[in-house]
Symmetry: C2
Subunit: 457 residues, 2 copies
């Protein structure tokens, strides 16, 4: 794609120190791509050259697309006056996003750079709970009154649009600032100039409260296919707007969180590229040690059957196969359920119907895999044990696949019911739990069919 | 949330057969919620009652939000005239989405219901490759010429907006229909009435080709934070637009595909709720059987060390722990990498730098876990073997965790390089491969330290 070409060209110009050609190249690049090029540039000096070569009005836009760590770095490198200007010109939601990622000391330093009015606004937005809609919203929107004419409203809209506000939707508020409707800009253009705003109102609008979880804004925007969502306080007074592009970023973060949880790392909330090894270690060791404990139970389960194993050592041959199959079937089920619950495709009340379906699927899977491995069991059993070992591994496979699928399917639902994130049913957790139960099932079936020493308890 | 209340109320009214109250309830509901209520209604008759109670102009909108299976059902239940009307009024991209999910015979029946002009358009859109941008686009957009005045353009925009087109962006095309710019509606309102369109042009616009993969449209819209994206043919002639709400649906599908692949089910492309057990069985059995083959290699690896195991049966105690830990560390790495590659947080050229970081993280994880289990090794070893068994399990744990993390980290990159989806490195696959290598490492270390019989090959 051509934007990659521009980024490579820009970086090449910096390396060759052909700074005189920078303005022309930058002029043809989108701010998003300039931000990406800056982020890929190692030298602080080069980053600064690119940034300061930009015309003033593009610097803040470029800044808003930098990753947080690059933003911090840039502000530290800029002189005080320019840093103040950039912070002042950032739209309020971008400023909140930048400030909320700072350490307390850094935050204090940054707040000192803000103009009094910006400071007041930022402190107000930072006052909303983490991951709330208030943290995402921008308090800049265009509001008109129902009694205004279309002509007067358009004058007002023109004035606000000139200040850079989003105007695809115009909000109608009452004398106390309470939201009473949202009207498309297009409707103002279609209407007669002397019509009243009231005549355009259809009372169909969507709003969320600033204190609500940001996940709610994602759901409303996705469900109702809207671009701009009104945010109010608990009395319905309009406070700001959230736009679809912010929502897409939030949705991406939430999905990444789900992936990470499902993969057994907990949620990272930071770019892998930027995360330090120490941070990654701390995030990952917790779950791994918990899983070690679960796996030790597997060891204890095996220890119970040590005599049986000594009697028929061939049983160990099938051990990884049997327990892995339980874990694999469970991972499939858990992934399907976690994702279906996350997209709203299934809800927790659907569990019984899905359980029935999952059971029949698992029965089919278990039978197929059981028959397949029973042939291998017959081969490993040799002349004496062919039939018995075929039966042991065939039945064990059938049983563990069904059991693994049931654990994988039900655990996400149980977690959801307990108000926990279903994605906590990570595939490593499902696999490890399935190991324990799989070992017990396998050796119990083996002990029964082969008439082996009973478990040591 | 209140929309849930409305859905429940609607379903209750149907059950109580209080049809006279339906119009009032429906009047206050959004079409998205009506569609959800219809989808939750089992009885065909009740579905039809709700649909036909709606005023004509809301029926098609409601229809467009139904899942595909419910759409098919509804069209089959409607009389021919109403079915024709609904199909005619669907916006072209929704019509394509409906038609592309039909079986060939069903498709033929539906195409017969289309008006000649709609048929021509639908066949053209269905002519684009599956999962291409052409399948997503709507050929309805507003285009003006650079030489027009703002006043003339606004007249044209009003006319098109009245026909229900999306007008947040107005496209500027030349005499051959080639796209030369995209201008915000807001700029037309801000401009002087007698200014030329040329004066509003900034030549900053984004477009994609209709034949390109829809993933590209997702990336451009997300990267550049735009609501409406122009679609052209290979000569730059404007063909249609794709809007952000379509893109969010596509992004959700692609992410679900990634989840499913990572969970080892392959991609389903269908709602779990609607998928038949047979379909789920067929989708899942393939990967499970492939994994059985991988796990059989684990069995063969164990068979090589059967004599060693018979000599020190306590080794089996640690087997599930050691191999599960390799798989768990690998699942973590694979999930982190697959997601980071999908979001563009890392690119395939970053592999070496990430490999270094992952190695140091894995070293830390392996050391911690190795030390922890070596105590358990000492305990299981008893007075005679305490030190040796502690060394065996400690070193084995260190080695398998590093090995698992390396497999999990590198496999997604290798797949990406081979132009395959990195998510094919599913956690069950990583776990199963880690099992094989883990067994070889564990017993080799055990054989060396405990001076056991060498492997049977």
């Amino acid at each position: 794609m051509s934007e990659k070409g521009a980024i490579i060209e820009l970086i090449a110009l910096l390396k060759l120190e052909r700074h005189e050609q920078l303005p022309e190249t930058l002029d043809e690049m989108a701010v998003q791509d300039i931000a990406e090029a800056i982020d890929q540039t190692e030298s602080h000096e080069d980053r600064l050259v690119v940034f300061m070569t930009l015309p003033e009005e593009r610097r803040t836009d470029t800044f808003s697309y930098l990753p947080h760590s690059a933003q911090r770095q840039m502000l530290a490198d800029l002189d005080n006056k320019e840093a103040k200007r950039v912070l002042h010109e950032l739209v309020p939601d971008d400023r909140t996003a930048f400030l909320e990622n700072l350490d307390p000391e850094e935050l204090e330093g940054m707040l000192k750079l803000l103009a009094p009015e910006d400071l007041k606004q930022s402190l107000k937005l930072l006052g909303y709970p983490e991951e709330s809609i208030g943290r995402l919203m921008t308090p800049r929107f265009v509001a008109v009154r129902p009694t205004w004419t279309v002509a007067r409203s358009l004058d007002h809209i023109r004035h606000e649009a000139n200040r850079g506000e989003t105007v695809n939707f115009v909000f109608v508020t009452d004398e106390r600032g309470r939201l009473i409707d949202a009207v498309k800009l297009k409707d103002f253009i279609l209407a007669r100039q002397d019509a009243k705003v009231e005549a355009l109102m259809d009372e169909e609008f969507y709003s969320v409260q600033a204190s609500a979880d940001r996940e709610e804004a994602v759901q409303v925007i996705q469900h109702y296919d809207i671009n701009t969502l009104a945010v109010t306080d608990k009395n319905g007074v309009m406070l700001g707007i959230v736009t679809v592009d912010d929502i897409m970023d939030v949705a991406e973060q939430e999905i990444t969180e789900d992936f990470h949880k499902l993969g057994g790392t907990g949620s990272l909330n930071i770019s892998i590229r930027e995360a330090s090894p120490g941070f990654l270690y701390r995030k990952r060791i917790g779950w791994l040690m918990i899983l070690v404990l679960v796996n030790l139970v597997s060891g204890l389960a095996i220890a119970m059957f040590e005599d049986a194993i000594e009697a028929v050592i061939a049983l160990v041959f099938f051990l990884p196969l049997i327990i892995a199959s339980a874990g694999n079937a469970g991972s499939q089920s858990a992934t399907l359920m976690v994702r279906a619950l996350a997209t709203g495709d299934v809800e927790s009340k659907d569990w019984l119907r899905l359980w029935g379906k999952e059971f029949s699927v698992a029965l089919g899977l278990g039978l197929t895999m059981g028959v397949a491995v029973s042939f291998i069991g017959a081969w490993r059993g040799g002349p004496e044990l062919a039939l018995q070992l075929a039966m042991v591994v065939g039945f064990a496979m059938l049983a563990v696949v069904i059991m693994g699928a049931m654990i994988g399917m039900l655990l996400p639902f149980i977690l959801q019911r307990a108000n926990m994130d279903p994605a906590t049913a990570s595939t490593p957790l499902i696999t490890s739990v399935a190991d324990v139960v799989g070992i017990l099932i396998y050796f119990s079936i083996a002990a029964a069919i082969l008439n082996l020493p009973s478990p040591v308890t």
